[in-house]
Symmetry: C4
């Protein structure tokens, strides 16, 4: 019937936004007739079918970095003539929003720490974790390389020559901050870690809230709500460490900047700060996800099993059995 068909169509967005979707669901949604037909006859479609989820994460993270690194490049290199700190909040917020729209096929994680928390709390299969993380890092690297290509002349002009590439803290015309984050000078290592941890916790707590249909839930407005979430994190917790809150977003472009010729200082800067945005987000998203599940979530979660999930860790088989029985 026409009506039912139409209703299905408007429902689509809500369903496919779901970043906690299990692998089975995702694959089954692809197994529609035309796709199957393609697989039989078309070589590329067959390859692509296998790589579908990594490709999706790759492009989602690439879009994120294109806008994110792009806006920092424009603001830095134009010396605040073509944007200011607020533009940077806009750029990263839009990067996440559009990155999510681009990568709905794979659940739109575009952040290894988000994939990790989905593995821990939402039964996302662990075996996919390395592939997702690799795709995210490669996507971020591609995005950073394109931004570099686009702004090369401007970087040359700003740094004072095509062979000069400097890192914040070592030069007053440093441009390495375009690609990855460098902490404010007054921060201790503990403060750096805490800042990234808090921002990542808020990120994951809110993502779980936005996806929770037993709460309000953002439904088809999720990408828009994520814009506001990222804008907010940037405006409220973005100064001290630059809110990387994402290994792919920070490590990928940092590697690119090293390969381009920014030198050893991309690692040494901020007293070897580079590992903080790689490690802290995993602790943050795990804590933020746990907080939401522990206190607000009523659907299936390890926290909602006997002994608040601890049993599950100690006696995995038995607790899974119990878990299954209650659902």
């Amino acid at each position: 019937m026409a009506t039912k068909h139409t209703v299905n169509e408007i429902m689509k967005p809500a369903t496919s936004t779901d970043s906690t979707v299990t692998a089975t669901q995702t694959v089954s949604s692809l197994a529609d007739v035309s796709e199957e037909t393609y697989r039989k006859g078309l070589f590329w479609s067959r390859i692509r079918h296998t790589l579908r989820e990594p490709l999706s994460e790759f492009f989602g993270t690439m879009i994120l970095i294109l806008f994110g690194d792009g806006v920092v490049a424009q603001v830095t290199l134009s010396q605040d003539q073509k944007g200011d700190y607020q533009s940077i909040s806009w750029g990263w917020g839009i990067g996440v929003m559009l990155g999510v729209y681009a990568s709905g096929i794979s659940g739109a994680h575009i952040n290894p720490a988000v994939t990790f928390a989905n593995c821990v709390f939402r039964k996302f299969p662990w075996r996919k974790f390395p592939v997702y993380m690799l795709a995210q890092v490669l996507g971020a690297m591609s995005g950073a390389a394109i931004v570099y290509g686009n702004y090369k002349s401007a970087i040359d002009t700003y740094e004072g020559g095509s062979h000069i590439r400097t890192v914040p803290g070592y030069s007053s015309t440093a441009t390495a901050g375009i690609f990855c984050t460098y902490p404010a000078a007054f921060m201790t290592k503990t403060g750096q870690f805490f800042s990234e941890f808090v921002a990542s916790s808020i990120l994951m707590f809110m993502i779980f809230a936005l996806k929770d249909d037993k709460n309000i839930g953002a439904g088809p407005l999720t990408p828009l709500a994520l814009f506001f979430l990222i804008f907010g994190i940037g405006a409220c917790f973005g100064w001290e460490t630059g809110y990387a809150i994402n290994l792919a977003r920070d490590f990928g472009p940092r590697l690119v900047s090293y390969m381009i010729g920014y030198g050893h200082n991309v690692w040494a800067a901020g007293n070897y700060y580079f590992w903080v945005p790689m490690v802290a987000p995993f602790f943050g998203t795990t804590f933020g996800g746990w907080l939401y599940d522990m206190f607000l979530y009523v659907d299936e979660s390890p926290v909602n099993t006997p002994w608040v999930g601890v049993k599950r860790i100690i006696l995995p088989q038995q607790s899974t059995a119990i878990h299954r029985s209650v659902v």
Copy 2:
């Protein structure tokens, strides 16, 4: 049927956004099968079930303060390098939007004065009022404490030492304004009260308008509309008193700032201003809610009972009887 199921899902948001939802409804929505099963077998789930609504308000208000106090901290401490007054409007708007998304389970009040107006005009049970208010204040205190932890080094640097903590009006490097509001110097006590009263009236008038299905109603767009409402109040009525319009948002963090060591001046500043944002919002939301119900609301409200609700106050039992009969 698949279709019906999906339709129910998209409807959810609209329903659960409703901050005027009665207690019965909220509880019944929780009493779904899996939850019941949990209650039987799981100790924590049983406790959590009882504390469900206070926990929801606690986290909603915590999110509000994390973003709200966070943005003021970033703008103040970076000396307008990483944000300006407009960022503050963004931060508080996002704080309310995301706080509402986090706390839909309890009706997303995150403001004692909003709870109060819902008790007066929307039959929200009075017995819940103290618990809600307590949860909101504790949530705000937690948020403020986290912001303090995150920005401690930056505050030390800004104030000039880790033991110096000063209040606006007593020092040019005061940072107490990060946590709670201090009025502009030229304001009289009457002006302070009037400003908070007007902003709170607008807040409640618009919340009732946004929730009114006989008017346009914002439905699933409510959290987004609240972003614009709070942004607007900040941009248009935010200068003179800092638009606290919320006891929990102002008193909670003020208490934290006192405990941290900002001293007696957090109470004395602005000629003992601190009680204004505690008291005025209750008058404001009551007036704003009354205005909407008196002139625009056609559904069930004390104002829409005989003698415009006055009878209900004088002769509660009789008027309730009448009230019931008309519905």
Copy 3:
């Protein structure tokens, strides 16, 4: 059935946003059971029922001016410390968005020139026009008075005394611009008129586009789309004359500023500019509405009758007959 009921609920917004709704429809939607019961028993409900539409326009326009004049007051009086020109775009955009949410009952015109264009092109009954315009002007006056009350001390401080009230062009500390618009100095009378005409045309062309279900149509997103429309007009066509584009918005507060004591200059300023924002918007919205109907609208409109509506003006009875026959 549950499904149908729910579907009706989500449809509500789209329907009630419709500013072109005919009187019959609006009244019938009010005639629900509980309302009828109220009318029988309750004195105030009976009065209110009659005044329902004017009250709705009154409060909608009041909300518009509260935010609109409020933001200009805050930016002007804080000397750009608590906002800048962009805040003004935000404030007016939010004012229209929230004013529309508040006044859906009456079709959310909150602008006499919009009511006028609806009379001309969308069969809105002419007999309602004077009542709507009066309600809109009174609402705008109330909003301006509240803004004055709220910012009185700040105006005293800014102007240099509680009896000094000056108008732009006559003083460097003028504050009359808080309430109504004054044109830029270099503008000729023709330029002033053209600027208001163009902005009003765009306003009406876009309102008709947003409400046209045969085009994309904004549906429940209409208030949000209006925010962007007003923000855009302010950012792109707001400098020269201050984009009044609304008799109520400009004349109402101007009258209040005259009554408050800003003197004869509120009329004389800009070479007696005051009549331009009263007259030009009617020409603008009529032209903009005509443009949309002439070239893009396929539903019922005088333009879509024989001889492009001219016949209808010359021979009203006959053309109406034809018009009826084609529909």
Copy 4:
């Protein structure tokens, strides 16, 4: 039934937003009863019926330029007093959003390069391409002319006389940048081309993502999502060449500025830059569209035919046959 009717109504937006809609669909949607009746009796309606799609593109592009050129005029001529670079991002974003709302009837391309990519990848009929492009260029010219009329006095004041009209790079009070784009001084021709190419690729990649129902898809939120997309391109890739990414947007107004009297330099500036924003967007949108279809799109596309579409180019008839068979 009432319900079904209403459901159809809310579905409309999603459907009519679709810029990839084939001609047949568009025409059939117009062939409703009242329209047919009009065609028989009304001369103008008959003409308009034929010109329906070009008229729609004309007005959509006019709205785009009214806001886009309008905001640059206001920011430039008020010397950043009434807006800054961020306002320009707002203005163009709003221009696209509202332009799309105005031109849904024709698929809301408002950009020849978008029409081109729809011809290549989405079976939009090639025979419509020239008409669409002409309508888009004429619409852009009209918009530019209205902006010129509106800001003529201000341009006279800014340039220093009513006969002085100068181009960026040749004068410090140049105003030609209001109408079309001029590249930053440090850019090489390759850099100019690459910058326009990258921005156009992102544009098309994201448009295809937003329209893809097998991905998340923006549905009725598409115009809003486009606002964020254009804002993002402006904030992140807008500095170097001014992000024309649209032949109509750049060439149309450039021609108007030449006709107005800005002289030969509108073509000569930036080492004859003018052809770059005419040519690069076609390459960009084709590449961006190819990228999306190649790696993420599973519905019907030339890329999803044997030999990734190459066969189709070499042996059009045979491959079409195959193509038909798989669908």
